[in-house]
């Protein structure tokens, strides 16, 4: 089974999703829920055995499978994992379990479809993280949109149509340019779709820059980077809680992953050439978006902007080309997965009770909901990058790395210490603390055991990674070092840098 494990991780979620779907209408909702939970736990356990079988000492792809798929175009079903995709797959399987538990009582309509959408999406996302064939990657990349489109469009808020169309058009437009780049690479590589072939493909600087920009338009939208970020707050506001969690925790990571897997190794010279642009946009995200987050009235919007600001550290870390920066970027992606996921769950807890996401409808929640308040403050502190939580690890490493590249980058990035704390704690002050503002708040029930379970899983992860990140870093060392070595070697036929 060992050699088919990765395929199993991609297809079992999709098959189980179809099975859950087959339970049909809401009369059998209980079965659908249990089935979905059972499958997601099995898939999580499978991903653990993938991790256990993973060799941290090689940068080569592991668990590889290679079968002809569309032989006319030389397209292969080619998959594998390395130290960069491994942690992201684990993140995906953990969070799918969490969202399925989180949707347990909350989703009462079309339960089977809801659960199935998340399972199918899980498989497709693992597919993106393990595809080694450009066409396979593209297919998974685009397929991923469909379940999310449905999740927002069916279980979403009142303005969901606007949000889904915006989300869909934004991401599709970016992806199409990526497709053009991939087709170009197909022609210049004499008909290969193997991503690893592209890594070794020599390219003149102009071609590299064009390819970089085409890929950039796909990945920057997903991250999202300033100024193509405005779809995210809208999508989050309209998405149901589970949708927001997966969107923030995993889907945004696709952008960062794309930069690592495609942009940096395929176009190393263009990456160096355009690093100034990436760094500038990242720093704008860190500071400007934080200021915008500060004045949001809607908690989900605030957390969405906070996500964009935190993802700025990912792109910053990747384009300063040193180990601390790149590993910091990876840690930031994982940590942001836990923290933003948890914060969206927290907002979901409140929304389920009062149907409001507005900060000013709350106040003094700590009195009726002490356990919730404790958890919320924990995640808020993690969001401010407090040492001892996972939020610190990535930001710390990226700041160290960028100090080596240029101290001014570090100075600007470190402003997040102030702004990040300002918008997060101001929200905490207005929502959690203070006098209970009205009877509705006074009557709120504290978190139930299901909610404690979902938030508890994430709390444990946030603290564990914060207190001892080394086991996670060890998985990625070899691959990251290999990547950076590769990016440092010019691919131009003539010396171009």
């Amino acid at each position: 089974m060992e050699d088919k494990l990765l395929s199993l991780l991609i297809w079992l979620p999709i098959v189980s999703g179809v099975l859950v779907l087959a339970t049909g209408n809401d009369q059998r909702a209980a079965i659908a829920r249990k089935l979905a939970l059972g499958f997601s736990v099995i898939i999580f356990l499978l991903s653990i055995s993938l991790y256990r079988g993973f060799d941290v000492n090689t940068a080569n792809m592991q668990f590889t499978e290679h079968h002809s798929w569309i032989s006319a175009f030389n397209i292969y079903y080619s998959i594998g994992v390395d130290g960069i995709s491994m942690p992201l797959i684990l993140l995906t399987t953990v969070l799918t379990v969490v969202v399925i538990i989180a949707g347990w009582q909350v989703i009462t309509e079309r339960v089977a479809q809801y659960m199935a959408a998340f399972l199918i999406m899980e498989g497709v996302m693992i597919g993106v993280f393990s595809a080694l064939d450009a066409m396979l990657f593209y297919v998974f990349w685009e397929t991923m949109l469909i379940p999310m489109f449905l999740i927002i469009g069916i279980w979403g808020g009142p303005n969901r149509i606007y949000a889904t169309i915006k989300f869909f058009l934004y991401t599709l437009l970016g992806s199409l340019l990526m497709l053009v780049a991939l087709l170009y690479l197909y022609t210049v590589s004499d008909g290969s779709f193997r991503i690893l072939d592209y890594h070794a493909l020599p390219l003149p600087l102009t071609a590299q820059i064009l390819i970089f920009l085409a890929l950039f338009s796909a990945f920057a939208v997903k991250v999202p980077m300033f100024p193509v970020h405005t779809w995210l707050p809208d999508a989050h506001v309209e998405a149901p809680t589970g949708g927001s969690v997966i969107l923030a925790a995993i889907m945004l990571k696709m952008g960062g992953y794309g930069f690592i897997r495609l942009s940096l190794p395929i176009t190393p010279d263009a990456s160096h050439e355009l690093a100034w642009l990436m760094i500038t946009l990242s720093l704008i995200a860190v500071v400007y978006i934080a200021l915008v987050a500060l004045v949001q009235q809607d908690m989900k919007k605030l957390i969405a902007y906070s996500s964009i600001s935190h993802m700025g550290f990912v792109t910053l870390g990747l384009f300063i080309f040193n180990v601390q920066g790149a590993e910091g970027a990876m840690m930031q992606m994982l940590s942001h997965g836990f923290i933003s996921g948890a914060l969206f769950l927290c907002v979901g807890v409140l929304y389920d009770r009062t149907h409001s996401r507005m900060i000013d409808t709350y106040g003094g929640i700590a009195t009726p909901m002490p356990i919730f308040a404790a958890l919320f403050v924990l995640f808020a502190m993690a969001n401010t990058g407090l040492p001892g939580t996972s939020g610190f690890v990535g930001e710390f490493l990226v700041i160290l790395g960028s100090f080596q590249a240029n101290p001014w980058f570090a100075i600007i990035a470190a402003l997040t210490l102030i702004f990040g704390a300002a918008y997060t704690l101001w929200m905490v002050k207005r929502v959690i603390y203070g006098k209970v503002i009205n009877k509705e708040v006074a009557a709120l029930e504290d978190v139930n055991s299901r909610e404690i379970l979902t938030l508890g899983i994430l709390a444990v992860l946030v603290l564990a990674v914060g207190i001892w990140p080394n086991p996670v870093l060890e998985v990625m060392h070899t691959s990251i070092e290999n990547l950076l070595r590769h990016v440092d070697i010019s691919k131009c036929p003539l010396i171009c840098r």
Partner: protein, 668 residues
């Protein structure tokens, strides 16, 4: 203390490194139990666990203290937190004279405060939560002082900040409290910004986060410079200034001091433990720990000196006009932290830590004394409504008087020795800014004595000015409150003359503090006592003190306070109205708060609103995104008109087209 040496010998058979580990972990465990199982263990369970936890930590700290006196230092790694780019980041302990001194101070004051809390917080519904927080604080502070590397230092640094945030906002239903805790956290974060960048610079320059490695290579990189838009700078100066920025936040130095007075919104035991005795001294400790770096940058030392001196005198002046008993003590804390910072700037690190220690005792004492008064007065904190409590609360009175005498620096109380040593040290210092600092700390002595005795006289002397209801119920506080007061009063009396000899004349800190020979002002003070030891030395120090300015300034401050608040009680109001603008400036705390509120807080929010509305929603989303969508749909709306579906429209267009084409062909 000395019999403990033998006791320590027994312990050393047990692995000492286990003992180091137990000290912080026992506090963490107590905190977790109180936090997670508060309901199950009940109030009794919570305080039993927390108090015995910190008591054990205190006893073990004494054991380690004795062990260190025997010469057993340790520098050990606990585990590797992370490795990135070949640099290992570790969690580990450095046990030397400096860290063990801090450990004893922290656990002792913490123990006193734990016990006091049993009485002070008896009626509070958040009792278990409170014990959870203060035990967590003790853990964090211990990790901070025991660290052997910069990463863990930052961990502890931020963790104590977190607990401070939670505790200032402990009564989270009070608006003032939740404003104060956010303010404290954010102002501290400004300092932490510098601190974190300082650590990044250290890693960049030294390639290591371990104290030992960094300190060892400091002499070799002192020449290294960095060229910035502001000229060429020594790397070490840049690093020290960035680190000191962190210290300014945590140790509340001007202009990052604004959070500390507001932090008094937290329960009084917290003011004693965190915002007076221990956490706020983290910055002082940190600079002393970094002496192998600061010694190589006279620029940084001068900045430290000037900031410290400014804080020492100007914050003391505000203390003169405060009427809230806790705020008087709070401003006194600011001023005393300034004194410690001055000592650091003068390269008298040992004396800074000496004053840190004596101050921890007498300031915790004053705060807990104030708390005792506040309970008796039914949570009245305005000194104008107090008075005459001397006879009703004799033990509180006596212990507070001890605290005031120690604070004012009257011999032979603890504060006299440490404060006098600071003033002497500045007097001997030759670095830039030392003259200014000398004048500032001298004037500060008068002001300190004045407000200390003003507090004592307004609270305990004269007649009681509160309502009759309160007067009827006034009584001395319960034993759990009194006991810590007495426990803290003892070192407030004796700590000075026990430690003056070893610290100032002897070699108490060994190699844990590094001083370049020509900076060593402590050595110059020691030379003044030409070889005296023991009691003779202490007596010589007191005798010397009686003939110097500070003593007479302190006495005149005390007498002045007596005249104004016991003899001629109408005088203060007259002075206040006569001094007009000066009084208003002091009452307004030099306008720092208003200035920050207007310039930073409000304008940041306004700027955020502007960006959100005009750039994000306006330009990007409105014009570019939806604009594109609207243009396309608008364009297609026009194009749609062409496709009407009527045959005659199409036929008509065809005919026009035909004519058009024919015309073109004919003309060409």
């Amino acid at each position: 203390m000395f019999s403990l040496v033998r006791f320590g010998a027994v312990f050393s058979k047990i692995n000492m490194s286990t003992v180091y580990l137990i000290i912080p972990l026992v506090c963490l465990t107590a905190s977790i139990i109180c936090g997670l199982f508060g309901k199950a263990i009940g109030r009794r369970g919570a305080h039993s666990i927390a108090v015995s936890g910190v008591a054990l930590a205190f006893v073990l700290s004494l054991v380690v203290y004795a062990d260190v006196q025997d010469g057993n230092l340790a520098n050990q790694t606990l585990y590797i937190w992370a490795i990135s780019g070949g640099i290992p980041f570790q969690i580990g302990f450095l046990i030397d004279q400096l860290s063990v001194t801090m450990m004893v101070i922290v656990t002792f004051v913490s123990l006193a405060v734990h016990i006091y809390t049993i009485g002070y917080m008896a009626d509070d519904p958040g009792y278990q939560r409170f014990f959870c927080y203060i035990s967590l604080f003790t853990f964090s502070m211990l990790m901070l002082v025991m660290s052997n590397n910069f990463l863990q230092l930052f961990f502890g640094w931020e963790a104590v900040g977190l607990v401070s945030y939670l505790l200032i906002g402990f009564w989270f239903e009070r608006d003032a409290a939740i404003f104060a805790n956010m303010k404290a956290f954010l102002v501290n974060r400004i300092g932490d910004l510098g601190f974190l960048l300082g650590i990044a610079a250290i890693l960049y320059v030294f390639g290591s986060s371990d104290y030992a490695a960094v300190f060892a290579s400091a002499p070799f990189v002192k020449e290294a410079t960095v060229i910035s838009p502001f000229g060429e700078w020594q790397w070490i100066t840049v690093i020290c200034l960035l680190l000191f920025m962190g210290a300014m936040g945590k140790s509340a130095q001007v202009p990052l001091h604004v959070w500390l007075p507001d932090s008094m919104e937290g329960p009084t035991p917290i003011s004693a433990l965190i915002h007076a005795a221990t956490m706020v001294t983290a910055g002082i400790f940190m600079v002393a720990r970094m002496s192998p770096l600061f010694e190589f940058s006279e620029t940084a030392l001068s900045v430290v000196l000037v900031i410290g001196a400014t804080t020492a005198i100007f914050m003391a002046l505000i203390g003169l006009v405060q009427n809230d008993i806790k705020r008087v003590v709070a401003y006194s804390t600011l001023s005393q932290l300034g004194y410690m910072t001055v000592a650091l700037g003068a390269s008298a690190y040992e004396i800074a830590i000496f004053h840190l220690g004596t101050h921890a005792f007498f300031k915790a004492l004053l705060f807990l004394g104030a708390g005792s008064v506040i309970i008796a007065m039914h949570h009245e904190q305005d000194m104008r409504k107090m008075g005459g409590l001397r006879t009703i609360m004799p033990i509180t009175y006596i212990t507070c008087a001890v605290g005031a005498l120690a604070l004012a620096g009257i011999p032979p109380f603890a504060g006299f020795f440490s404060k006098d040593a600071i003033i002497e040290a500045v007097h001997h210092s030759e670095i830039w800014g030392a003259q200014y600092a000398y004048i500032a700390v001298l004037l500060g002595v008068f002001v300190t004595a004045f407000y200390a005795f003003r507090l004592l006289f307004m609270t305990f002397h004269g007649r009681n000015r509160s309502g009759t209801d309160i007067i009827k119920h006034l009584h001395e506080s319960p034993n759990v409150v009194i006991l810590p007061l007495v426990a803290l009063a003892i070192p407030s009396v004796f700590a000075g003359f026990i430690f003056f000899g070893p610290v100032v004349v002897g070699d108490y800190f060994g190699d844990s503090i590094f001083i370049i020979r020509y900076h060593d002002v402590t050595q110059k003070i020691a030379e003044g006592f030409n070889g005296k030891t023991g009691l003779a030395l202490v007596l010589a120090a007191i005798w010397h003190g009686l003939f110097t300015w500070p003593f007479w300034l302190a006495v005149s401050g005390a007498v002045g306070a007596w005249y104004c608040y016991c003899k001629n009680t109408a005088l203060p109001a007259k002075i206040a109205s006569a001094s007009g603008p000066i009084y208003r400036i002091l009452d307004n705390k030099y306008g720092f708060d208003d200035f920050y509120q207007a310039v930073f807080t409000k304008s940041t929010v306004a700027f955020g609103k502007l960006l959100s509305k005009h750039i994000d929603a306006g330009l990007i989303d409105g014009t570019l995104v939806n604009g594109t969508a609207n243009t396309i749909s608008g364009f297609s709306a026009i194009l749609r008109h062409i496709q009407t579906g009527y045959t005659y429209h199409y036929a008509f267009v065809m005919i026009i087209g035909l004519f058009g084409l024919i015309t073109v062909f004919v003309w060409l």
